[in-house]
Subunit: 578 residues, 2 copies
């Protein structure tokens, strides 16, 4: 968000606060910041306020709007500020906090409304385009986001620089709602939830499982070409593994813990790296068999708060297409490069635009990081040189590295212009220390190795959600759960339809040959609703001509063609993953 | 075990008891039955006895053996029995128990040794062949198998009808030790255990994972041809699912339970059927889309006692190649038949001989079973007719059915003549009731369906263990983790070797091209130790002739042949799964 837009949004939050106070003077105001698409303000209302009140509040805002000019700044002492806001526990808490931190305390006044605020408004309310904002919805929100605190009422508004921008945004949101993966997931019968199994634990249907497996197989084919090998680990471990790795403490809150019948402590894995180290460590290694690349698509489990679970974007059971590379320092660049190739290929296949953040350490706080300065500088120099050499769209994120190594964070822009954080490649100098992982080098010495963590889809659940919305459920041929629907014109054509179906199946295509009683029109509509790439109609004229009639989901009627031609066309399309 | 052999073994248990009492008169005897390969006796020794004492005990047995003739039976009252064995708490417990049950109480005497015993001995000790038995080992065993009781010392002996039988058995055991899957698993680098992860939680290496996946893919290819569809479920569930299914109570001891951060109760799944019902139940069904066949290879977890864990035969993480068929009553026979085909094919591929037990209900206790008499009779009649029609080796197990349906239990005989309980097909009339699963039939009525449970390998861990020992690690080409090892005679042949390797890899074979520094002899020995099906040698003569020299693991030297001929041979072998 650019600075000007941020100021517009923040100014509108003040306006919202003013309107609410005029309508319900005994309301206590909490905070009102700018956000990505507008602004909000959190209120502690004496009486509940709902979406139905939004019209009235917005009307009041527009009334006040006309009378506001600028934001008058006043420096205040803690005592003065508390005098103004003393009746309000939220503002009081903020005032005390800022005073304690030694911040300058300021208030800003427009019209009759004064707020405790650090600034960042438009110079004049004329800079706010009156048709470029509106209130959007009411939601609950805990004070300071902490569920132990009181639940406040949050009123959201949309705000943009121009009316056109607002309309564009609203169109995008409407389209996004149509494409909501929760809706399409049900319509296309990809996954389901059961109240008995619980939220955040999706059950994948036959069609959804085809989607998952095709995606996973594709990533694996890219990995196999880069020398990865599959391994298999259980989902449980004794506590000792995570005590050694440090995760027992670090993941304390989100770890599902188990006490066995014998009173031993176990955990369900929240990540795979510690287990994978134990496969690497099963035997001594020399430089000759480095690097080693272990890949495994497997579920990890994290104890999320149930309020945060929704669809596939936040789940308890996360299927990671995970991999770990055990390598020497001088192999880091090649290995990063190899994984980057895979990421480019996967996201490119679906037309996502990628940006990458080089998440580096902050040299001003060198003490925060594990490993020597030299290793960090070398690694980061190589990563940036690589990004340059690849001609990638990248930017630096100084201070964004993990404590134990720099990383590449990939962002994918979808067809609605929304950006999603997706794949990550991460260097790890920590676990090799903790698990004493090494190889014998050319000089016969023990050499400490490093690990790379590299999920490509990240989680299949989240990737599927992004992909379903990006494609609006129109999966390309290779990925579509049903690839061709065959519709006989009348039941006298059923036998011929089944012969065609058998030939297509034999070529490895997933076919739905609909010889049920229903009428042809309904069958074709079903094919469209299910977003099946091709529909083949079989009638008298087709049989006479020794051809089939083909309709493409994406290109409309393709007319009659011999079966062999259709097969060839589909095989090419499947192979090229178009 | 035939009755005569059982009598021989039981008689030898008495002899063992007598010998121990002569050597250490203050020993307390517990029980001494016949077992599958001989006999044992459990003792409460005043001083520890170990394997080192076996020679002395056996010598004493042979001394007494000469003087024994028959077993003299005496009827006794509870009072009389207690008088004889009153100093012995184990015998006293048994006497009281049998008296309470109203059993006739008897003692048997040979020479100077009298035991409290219900009978079953040889008529004369001459019937025991003196060279056909020996003591074998000492182990610990809880009194009555209950870990809360005192740990006793168990002395095992081997006993057969003839010396030749004993020798045959010992040869088999020695061979079984060589083939022990725990040993071969390590030698062939298939799986490993980590003390940090814990016992019963195998970590599968790249080679072991190939083995697992090839097996699983084969079973899946057989399933796919029968109309199965893959589904995917998480490993966790809320308690509610198992309360509905009845497993929360039934699996109470072996369920890994979890309490979430919000205090909710979850479990790690010990089986997949309840989850699968929830996929079936996501929408209404009609007779037109019945049956539905869901397959999923996934890990289940059971809280076993750590003392019972060992290698792959008893693990906490069990990978089931599981499937559930939801079908109508009139589809049961066809579905059983289809699964039976798959079982025959898998076990036949490896040369296992199969027997099947038809586990039926006991009509004398009809009250024990769910479902109507008619359903049971129909189902069982059809299962037996099917077994007959298939010409299968089968026998009836009356009373062996589960409460909720009859089953087929398959037993596989391995190459050492050991029989393993493997696949099971089970009819289930219970879960469809509990989860209210139905379809709408031709008359438009709601019709209760049934479920079939049908794992083919059962657990991949246990199946792998059986298979490794059955094949002694000599996996057929299609299954071998490394299929061909290429050995250049000198390093000048490395380049050519790599070209050959690339061509074989391109045909989808798993190749190890060994261009390391080591000498050729060692490389070939390594190939043999790793039980690689083919070794290809590349030297000057091969390059000149435009051929390769091939050695087969199973058939020895195959001589020179063109690469194309070798490829064709391998492709045929792989396809035919020989």
């Amino acid at each position: 968000m650019d600075d000007k837009l941020k100021k517009i949004r923040h100014s509108l939050a003040h306006l919202l606060g003013a309107a609410v106070l005029e309508l319900w003077p005994d309301t206590k105001l909490a905070i009102g910041p700018a956000v990505d698409n507008g602004f909000y303000y959190d209120f502690d209302f004496a009486k509940p306020v709902t979406d139905k009140d939004l019209g009235k509040i917005e009307q009041k805002m527009r009334e006040i709007f006309k009378s506001w000019k600028d934001f008058k700044k006043t420096d205040v002492t803690e005592g003065e500020a508390k005098k103004i806001f003393g009746h309000n526990p939220y503002k009081t808490e903020l005032i005390e906090e800022h005073a304690k931190a030694g911040d300058k305390l300021t208030t800003y006044t427009s019209g009759e409304f004064t707020d405790f605020c650090a600034g960042g408004h438009v110079e004049n309310m004329k800079d706010v385009e009156k048709d470029a904002w509106k209130l959007s919805r009411v939601a609950g929100a805990y004070w300071r986001g902490d569920e132990k605190n009181k639940m406040l009422t949050r009123i959201y508004g949309l705000a943009f620089a121009t009316k056109a921008d607002l309309e564009k945004y609203e169109t995008m949101i409407a389209e996004a709602e149509k494409r909501d993966h929760r809706k399409l997931g049900k319509d296309l019968d990809l996954f389901t939830f059961s109240p008995l199994v619980g939220p955040g634990l999706p059950l994948w249907t036959p069609k959804g499982t085809i989607l998952r497996n095709e995606l996973d197989n594709f990533v694996w084919s890219l990995r196999e070409a880069k020398g990865f090998q599959k391994v298999t680990i259980p989902h449980l471990t004794k506590k000792e593994l995570y005590e050694t790795s440090g995760h027992w403490e670090k993941f304390a809150d989100s770890l599902f813990k188990i006490t066995t019948r014998e009173g031993k402590e176990y955990a369900v894995k929240p990540m795979n790296c510690p287990h994978h180290t134990q496969i690497f460590a099963r035997m001594p290694h020399t430089y000759k068999n480095m690097p080693q690349r272990f890949a495994e698509t497997t579920m990890v489990y994290r104890d999320e708060q149930s309020g945060e679970l929704g669809g596939l974007t936040r789940v308890l059971s996360i299927t990671q297409d995970d991999a770990h590379i055990f390598c020497r320092h001088n192999q880091i660049r090649d290995e990063f490069n190899g994984i980057w190739d895979i990421i480019d290929r996967l996201y490119g296949t679906f037309g996502f635009e990628l940006r990458v953040r080089l998440s580096f350490h902050d040299p001003k706080h060198a003490e925060k990081y594990l490993g020597t300065k030299e290793i960090w500088q070398n690694a980061e120099r190589e990563l940036e040189a690589m990004a340059k050499a690849r001609g990638a769209k990248y930017f630096l994120g100084i201070g964004e590295a993990a404590m134990y190594g720099p990383k590449l964070d990939f962002m994918a822009m979808d067809s609605l212009g929304r950006e999603h954080q997706v794949a990550t490649i991460q260097l790890d100098m920590n676990l090799p220390e903790r698990f004493d992982l090494s190889c014998v080098n050319e000089k016969g010495e023990k050499e400490r190795i490093v690990m790379l963590h590299c999920a490509i889809m990240g989680s299949i659940e989240r990737f599927s959600a992004v992909l379903i919305e990006h494609l609006s459920g129109n999966f390309p041929l290779w990925l579509a759960p049903v690839q061709v629907k065959i519709v006989p014109v009348r039941d006298t054509h059923n036998e011929h339809a089944e012969k065609i179906a058998a030939e297509l199946s034999a070529a490895g295509f997933r076919i739905d040959c609909d010889t049920s009683d229903g009428n042809m029109g309904k069958k074709i509509r079903d094919a469209k609703n299910n977003k099946i790439p091709y529909t083949v109609i079989i009638g008298d004229k087709d049989i006479e001509a020794g051809k089939i009639s083909v309709e493409s989901r994406d290109k409309g009627q393709l007319g009659q063609m011999p079966l062999a031609e259709f097969l060839e066309k589909m095989e090419k399309e499947r192979k090229e993953k178009r």
